[in-house]
C-alpha cells in the first residue's frame, strides 16, 4: 500500500505486503482451502438433466413466440 521503496529493500516485507493485498491468495490457508472446496464442486460430473432441459427449452421456443 504505502512505501513501495521499502518493499524492494526488504523482500520479506514486500512479500508479506502481497499477502495482505490479497488475503485469499495462494499464501492464505483459507484461500487455498476455499479454492480446493470450490474446484471439487466445479469438477463434479454434470447430470444429463441440464442438457436435456436446454434442448427442451430450445424445442419449445417456436411455441413461446405466440405470447
Amino acid at each position: 500500500m504505502k512505501d513501495m521503496t521499502k518493499d524492494t529493500m526488504a523482500g520479506a516485507a514486500g512479500r508479506r505486503r502481497n499477502g495482505v493485498g490479497d488475503p485469499l491468495g495462494p499464501n492464505s490457508e483459507i484461500g487455498r482451502k476455499l479454492k480446493q472446496y470450490y474446484d471439487e464442486l466445479v469438477s463434479d460430473n454434470v447430470p444429463d438433466r441440464f442438457a436435456q432441459l436446454l434442448s427442451k427449452l430450445e424445442q419449445a421456443e417456436p411455441a413461446q413466440k405466440k405470447d
Partner: protein, 183 residues
C-alpha cells in the same frame, strides 16, 4: 421473442459447472442446488434478451441464481439451509487425493457462516469475481462485500483455529519460497 442463439445455449451449458458449485455453496445441499440451477437456466432462457452480449454472462447467471435462492428462502421461511449436514456427508464420499480430512473440516466451517458472508467469500475467493462484480451480483456496495469477506475470513480462521497467517508472515513467506502450497 427473438430466437435464442446457439451460442447462448452453448455458453449456458458451459456455465453449468460453475452455477452448480455456487448453488451448492449457497444451499449446502446437492439436490436443492441442482433444482436451483434448473430454475436459473429456465429464467435465463426466458429473459435472454435482457442479457447484453459482450458482458459477463457468468455474473449475469450468478445474479439470477442468487435472486432465485433468496426468493425461495423467503418463501420457505429459511428452511433452505441444511442443518443436518446431509451435504457434508454426501460430499465426504467424494474421492479426493489430498487433504480429505482438512477439506471436510473446512466445509463444516463454511456451513457455519451466515449466507451473506459465505456467498461473499465464495464469489471473491473461489469463483474469481472482482469485488465490483460481486457487489453487482449481490446488489450491494463494494465496501459491503469487502467487509463481509473480511468477517468471513476472520470467522473461518477462528473456527479452524488458523492464526492470523498474513499478519505474521513466516508461514506465508516460507510457503511462497518453497512452493509448498498443498502442505
Amino acid at each position: 421473442m427473438a430466437a435464442v442463439s446457439q451460442g447462448f445455449k452453448t455458453d449456458l451449458l458451459g456455465a453449468i459447472p460453475s452455477l452448480r458449485a455456487f448453488a451448492v455453496s449457497l444451499t449446502q445441499n446437492a439436490d436443492k442446488a441442482d433444482d436451483l440451477v434448473q430454475e436459473t437456466l429456465v429464467k435465463a432462457w426466458d429473459k435472454h434478451e435482457s442479457f447484453q452480449p459482450g458482458t459477463n454472462l457468468k455474473a449475469w447467471l450468478f445474479t439470477i441464481l442468487r435472486n432465485e435462492f433468496y426468493s425461495q428462502m423467503r418463501k420457505r421461511g429459511r428452511e433452505v439451509q441444511d442443518s443436518d449436514g446431509i451435504m457434508t456427508a454426501r460430499l465426504a464420499v467424494h474421492p479426493a487425493q489430498h487433504g480429505q480430512l482438512d477439506l471436510k473440516d473446512f466445509r463444516g466451517a463454511l456451513e457455519q457462516l451466515p449466507e451473506d458472508q459465505r456467498e461473499a467469500i465464495i464469489l471473491i475467493g473461489a469463483s474469481g469475481f472482482s469485488y465490483e462484480e460481486a457487489a453487482e451480483i449481490c446488489g450491494c456496495a463494494v465496501g459491503t462485500i469487502k467487509s463481509r469477506v473480511s468477517r468471513a475470513r476472520t470467522r473461518l480462521q477462528e473456527i479452524l483455529k488458523i492464526s492470523g497467517e498474513d499478519e505474521y508472515g513466516p508461514d506465508a513467506i516460507s510457503a511462497q519460497v518453497t512452493g509448498t502450497a498443498a502442505r
